[in-house]
């Protein structure tokens, strides 16, 4: 299973990469922004996308809308430390699951495994 993580904070991606290293059955990919995530999606088959909400330029809601439109089979998960009521509603419409930071690895693994 190919999982793409998107966050503008490189430290968050590094933490995820280290913690998920033991899940050998998962191939984890990482992107620092919405446009970078779309570039990865264009070249690599992705099963699950896990994205932050607040990012400069294209935010998580914009990204998930684009993913829903272009790659409807990809499972869409939000992993955010902030709930902006307005943008949150928009993302909630296109997200299959919503996880809050801090999120323990088990909850993340469970969300990914059950969708």
């Amino acid at each position: 299973m190919n999982i793409l993580f998107v966050d503008d904070d490189a430290n968050v991606l590094n933490g995820l990469r280290r913690i998920l290293r033991s899940r050998r059955e998962w191939r984890t990919l990482f992107a620092n922004s919405g446009p970078e995530a779309l570039e990865v999606l264009a070249t690599t088959p992705i099963d699950v996308i896990v994205t932050d909400m607040r990012m400069p330029g294209m935010d998580g809601a914009d990204l998930l809308h684009a993913v829903e439109e272009r790659y409807p089979d990809v499972v869409r998960i939000v992993l955010s430390g902030y709930v902006d009521a307005d943008r949150g509603d928009q993302a909630a419409q296109v997200a299959h699951a919503w996880l809050h930071k801090p999120c323990d690895p088990e909850a993340l693994e469970q969300a990914i495994a059950t969708h």
């Binding site: 990012m55 430390g81 009521a85």
Partner: protein, 404 residues
């Protein structure tokens, strides 16, 4: 013949307050009952009644005392009183104005609703603040937790590896060098030792960075929990501005660059927690204006914070290079509940509350904007406390003579 003059009844009905006339003998006539049923006087006829029969003994005595003063001096007075006659303690403000030589007009306002509004405004500001702060803390906590868990498994693997090395070197298991090398190379590969050697130091560094990030935010927030934060004390206004920038980072960091040009300024006597709320409001408003103008996508906006001494004042400005504010909106921008933001983004109380807080400090909050050329909000605060002799800024209007 038609006339534009409103009727006396219509004029009175337009006021929510309770109005009555009180004469020198303590007899009152209700001119206009309050809209709010809690005020201590039900709608009555024009028949005069003794004030002691309407209000509690304490409240009636207080009103009689002030009424006598107003009659003696001819000057207005404002006082506050509590009245339990309605079954619960409710706080009222009474304005007493002379009406001829032997009577006064009293205007009574229910303060509990005003206080409830103040509380609602503070809670809204606090809610917005804590949402932003939660984001700024949750993100580092997320990767600090992941890194700690990683380091825990990494240590377990290094421990396994160490056991392999000890076994390989132990004398009761004599192995050839070749056999030892093969065994240890296998163990190193199984535990991905190259990965661990590279990643563990990075995980440590990033964990420390995350902890530092949380510490910076918590330090900036300390002003709210410090016992002196709610009192007037000489305060470093530049530090207050810097802390407001840190605490509001989630609102502006994806949208704008922050430019700080803070001159050396003297300490300002102020309630530092309140001034921080003022700067937070102004910074968040600037960020929202820039975001609405499309900043954060291709180009970023700039929020400029400046401070400088100016005569007996210190002037702090918060400017953005957004689309500016129309002249019509500038006229109304400090009114409570005036907002151009969509529902859910703000209730239009931030600037009204900010102006009230700055006013309370004897300062002034103003706006300057030319449509198309950004907006600048200016906070002007006096360097010297109006009450140098250790007095504090009143929390609510207190009893006293109205300046004429």
């Amino acid at each position: 013949m038609t006339t534009c003059a409103p009727s006396y009844e219509a004029l009175l009905a337009a006021f929510p307050e309770h109005l009555f006339r009180l004469d020198a003998q303590g007899r009152m006539v209700t001119l206009k009952p309050a809209d709010d049923a809690r005020t201590p006087e039900p709608p009555t006829t024009w028949a005069p009644r003794d004030v002691d029969a309407v209000l509690s003994a304490d409240a009636a005595a207080l009103l009689r005392h002030h009424a006598a003063e107003v009659l003696a001096t001819g000057a207005e007075r404002v006082t506050e009183f509590e009245d339990g006659a309605t079954g619960r303690d409710v706080r009222f403000e009474a304005r007493l104005l002379p009406d001829g030589a032997d009577a006064i007009i009293v205007i009574v306002r229910d303060l509990s609703t005003t206080l409830a509004q103040d509380e609602a405004q503070k809670l809204e500001a606090l809610g917005r603040l804590s949402a932003g702060v939660a984001h700024e803390i949750n993100t580092p906590i997320q990767f600090v937790a992941h890194n700690a868990e990683f380091m825990s498994t990494a240590f377990a693997e290094m421990r396994e590896l160490l056991i392999c090395y000890r076994r390989a070197l132990s004398s009761d298991q004599p192995l050839s060098w070749e056999a030892r090398n093969t065994m240890l190379a296998e163990a190193e590969s199984m535990h991905d030792v190259d990965f661990l050697l590279e990643e563990v130091p990075k995980a440590v560094d990033e964990t420390l960075e995350g902890v530092r990030r949380v510490a910076v935010i918590v330090r900036a927030l300390k002003v709210f929990s410090h016992p002196t934060a709610a009192k007037v004390a000489p305060s470093d206004i530049n530090e207050c501005v810097r802390n407001a920038v840190i605490v509001s980072a989630s609102e502006h960091k994806t949208i704008a660059d922050i430019d700080m040009e803070l001159d050396d300024v003297p300490l300002i006597p102020c309630v530092v927690g309140e001034m921080m709320q003022v700067f937070l409001n102004l910074i968040v408003n600037a960020a929202h204006a820039l975001q609405d103008a499309g900043c954060g996508d291709e180009q970023r906006g700039t929020i400029t914070l400046r401070s400088r001494p100016d005569g007996d004042d210190v002037v702090i400005t918060v400017s953005d290079d957004g689309p500016g504010i129309s002249h019509a909106d500038q006229q109304r921008i400090f009114e409570p509940f005036f907002t151009t933001k969509e529902v859910g983004r703000g209730t239009g109380q931030g600037l009204a509350l900010s102006r009230a807080m700055v006013d309370k400090h004897g300062g002034a909050l103003s706006v300057h904007s030319s449509p198309g050329a950004g907006a600048t909000f200016t906070v002007r605060l006096p360097i010297h406390d109006a009450q140098e002799d250790g007095g504090s800024i009143p929390q609510h209007p207190t009893e006293g003579r109205i300046a004429s």
